[in-house]
Amino acid sequence: MSPALRADHVSFAYGPTPALVDVSFALAPGDRVALLGRNGAGKSTLVKLVTGLLRPGAGSVWVDDWDTRDRAPEALARRVGSVFQHADQQLFARTLWDDVSFGPRALGLAPSEVARRVARALATLDLAGLAREHPYDLPPAFRKLAALAGALALEPVLLVLDEPTAGLDRALRARVARALGERSAEGVALLVVTHDLTFAAETLERGLVLDRGRLACDEPLLTLLAADDRLAPLGLAPPPVAALSAALLLPGRPIRAADAAHTLARVAASRVGP
């Protein structure tokens, strides 16, 4: 089986300023990957290369067995669903339903298939009740969820999301996490740019870290987020649960809240003694 996404020695520069330098990695179907790094590290540039909005200066980006260089962004959309950083600004239709159905309709799918996909995407994000609302009557956070629903409705092999939780509260972040978990279990690969390391720890498995355009790390989040000494030079800080686990010396250094609570309860009980 070919990888859902493969970057092969990719470099890119904006004029004389290099943004990505010799970046290589691959995502298998169902992989859940966080793309991390400082502001300006090259994350959004990589997203634009994967979605076909930019072409690599050197190297190549493959989505399944397609070289992105050979496809226009709208053709790539058959395989790549993407949500941009300011996704709440990119809706344009009169109702949420029309907006979410734009992608599947543009793919030329039968109306019944369009309806099925849209209904499913809206239901996954608990947006079904808002389907007839005008997007701009809703708070930006809901428009952001709607943009994600639009990407889900493409039923792509790869979802590329740029800061999907910015501006969302915890309840809405949980909706996003659930939707992504569902789709990745079905084999959709996830590439998520985020500064929200709590969300990354709870939802994703693996971390790619860009540092001044170079790929500095590609490893499980469980080890990466527990390694304080390596995080700081990359412009990252351990998320609160990882910091708590470290500070209390919790066994196994859990990075997810439920795991930390479980371990904390166990250690507290053992302290009290029989």
Binding site: N39, A166, D169
Partner: protein, 264 residues
């Protein structure tokens, strides 16, 4: 001194029947940082627009109750507001970050050396001095967010209103902004900040106002972010949430330092 006061304020956006704010009263004094927390749609952004005299004056709608700044309706001293969408707040008139940050002060008609002093200081405080010659249009989301905050700060407002000022920032940038909000308050300004970064808020702010459905659901010191009711509503800090989920006794620690102390 009380800088900002809302007394029984209700607000309706144009052509809507349900109020976005309902009977809200709160006060922010000089020298303190107050956090507005709540779920999406709870009214925090609207409250900042009202406090910043943008609603209803600019956005329309209807207001009941009284909003005063330093005791007067028109407000004494400058109010600065940082919107949650930094790219909509660019002047569009500047080709460098330095000029962008200077845009506000220049429009206040200040002498040149005062503008220079304020701009240099704001760039330094946001840790963006290296970006001074960059074109704002080429900045990343996080860089832009800091430029906007710098531009507001350079106007030396006495009341600083911020809507999710760290949403697009990496951890280092977010820490810089939180440090700045704290420091700027201690210099005598009043700071009101809507945030969903509850963990950072618990480290920095003096008081917390919890909004729910346009109403004040609770208010208190930052330890409110570890209260059982706030944790149950999904608005407690991560540390408090883990403590509670572990079944350990209340009161829960709000911050890492408190957890370490409690754990012994």
């Amino acid at each position: 001194m009380t800088r900002l006061a809302l007394e029984h304020v209700s607000f309706w956006y144009p052509a809507t029947a349900a109020p976005a704010l309902a009977d809200v009263s709160l006060a922010v004094a000089d020298g303190e940082v107050v956090a507005l927390v709540g779920h999406v749609g709870a009214g925090a952004s609207t409250l900042l627009l009202v406090a910043g005299d943008l609603a209803p004056r600019v956005l329309g709608g209807r207001l009941e109750g009284r909003v005063t700044c330093a005791g007067t309706a028109t407000g004494a001293g400058r109010r600065g507001i940082v919107l949650p969408t930094p790219w909509t707040q660019l002047s569009g008139m500047a080709s460098t970050v330095w000029d962008e940050v200077a845009f506000g002060p220049a429009n206040l008609g200040w002498p040149k050396d005062e503008i220079t002093r304020q701009v240099e200081r704001a760039l330094e405080r946001l840790e963006i001095t290296p970006l001074r010659a960059r074109d704002p249009a080429t900045l990343s989301g996080g860089e832009l967010q800091r430029v906007i905050v710098a531009g507001i700060l350079a106007m030396d407002p006495v009341l600083l209103l911020c809507d999710e000022p760290t949403a697009e920032l990496d951890p280092a940038g977010a820490r810089a902004v939180w440090r700045l909000l704290h420091a700027t308050a201690r210099e005598g300004r009043a700071v009101l900040v809507a945030t969903s970064d509850l963990d950072a808020a618990a480290e920095v702010v003096d008081r917390v106002v919890w909004l729910e459905g346009g109403r004040v659901a609770g208010a208190g010191t930052r330890s409110l972010l570890a209260a059982d009711a706030m944790c149950a509503a999904g608005l407690g800090t991560t540390v408090a949430g883990v403590w509670r989920a572990a079944g350990l006794a209340a009161p829960y620690p709000a911050t890492l330092a408190e957890a370490v102390q409690r754990w012994g």
